[in-house]
Point group: C2
Chain length 210, copies 2
């Protein structure tokens, strides 16, 4: 996507512009919504020419989706792994599924409560609900790749005997991920670490008595 130039100075300038464009895109969509965010306004706020944006991205949707992907990458880089667990490219695997899922869901709660993320993500989600093509891209490029990290962790738990072998991990993850996402989108209940913990416990051990 971003065409890298060859000299170090130009490359640093490109990187600065790219980040300014992402920040402008996210703040604008949070302020005026998806539809009223234009390439022109993003360029103006980022202090770059419109042509810079058109050179690197083919559409407004593409700029915004990549701005969100970048937020996700930055959050991953900033997140500490749980004590004693190695950083790796996916969800933590300490050998204790319950602890690892609680760790990740608590971090997700913190992210969803961060206003820097909340307003733009809400605007993108709302538009994705009614604009089917944008919704498809949000699912394919943003949502599904992050859910696949849960699938991998659950598969590892199945191999370790921590999770029932007969269940579909792609459905199983929805029991704790979807309630969190719904509460956030609909503001239908408080988001807290205690709530995240309950979801993990209820899902793992079931609602029926053991």
């Amino acid at each position: 996507m971003a065409t890298r130039t060859t000299t170090p100075d130009a490359s640093r300038r490109s990187e600065r512009s790219r980040r300014a464009i992402y920040e402008a895109a996210l703040s604008l969509i949070g302020e005026v919504g998806y539809r009223r965010t234009t390439i022109e306004a993003i360029a103006a706020r980022a202090g770059v020419g419109k042509q810079t944006i058109y050179r690197w991205w083919s559409s407004k949707a593409e700029v915004l989706l990549e701005a969100f992907l970048d937020v996700g990458e930055q959050a991953n880089e900033a997140a500490a792994a749980p004590p004693g667990v190695e950083r790796f490219d996916g969800l933590p695997n300490s050998g204790d599924l319950e602890a690892d899922l609680k760790f990740v869901l608590r971090a997700t709660v913190d992210e969803l409560l961060d206003p820097k993320y909340d307003l733009p993500a809400r605007a993108l989600a709302a538009e994705g609900v009614v604009d089917r093509e944008l919704g498809r891209q949000v699912v394919e490029r943003l949502l599904e790749p992050s859910l696949q990290l849960y699938v991998q962790r659950l598969e590892a738990a199945q191999e370790a005997g921590e999770l029932r072998a007969d269940l579909d991990p792609r459905i199983a993850l929805e029991l704790f991920v979807s309630p969190l996402a719904q509460r956030w989108l609909q503001s239908s209940g408080p988001l807290s670490h205690a709530y995240a913990d309950s979801l993990v416990e209820y899902a793992l051990y079931g609602l029926a008595p053991r």
Copy 2:
């Protein structure tokens, strides 16, 4: 809200107008979205005067929320109870929680897949995500009352020993209701009776081996 007149003929006319207004409101919001649906357009499509709508409702949001409440009531009236189970004002209670939840979630899948419901509900949900006041009303008047029916059924199951006594029913229901709602809103996976059944089984018996 609807001011009933006293003669039977006038009352029948009012009822016909009310239903025409609901149908016009739902079809318009599905076609042009929440924001571009106006009281004027609803009145024109319903074949009533604008003043008829203003006499009965105070805002566009109120007309639309009541149109959805009416859809819900009609769906409840039309839904047969499972074989051998008495109709009552809430979710079925056959004494078999798993069977009752599967029955209700399968019916919900059918409703969500019905285009008559899908497009207007999607438009309302999208607007509720970004318009906080509308979202609050959707949660308070549409969502929460229907979730309270699950709470009641789960409380009955707790008394019957079918459900762990130490869990919060308002959180527990989210394990099977929210995934369905999310898949519908985001089109992030297929909605089917088999999927509804899996959610109920996974939630009741848990993801960890017993």
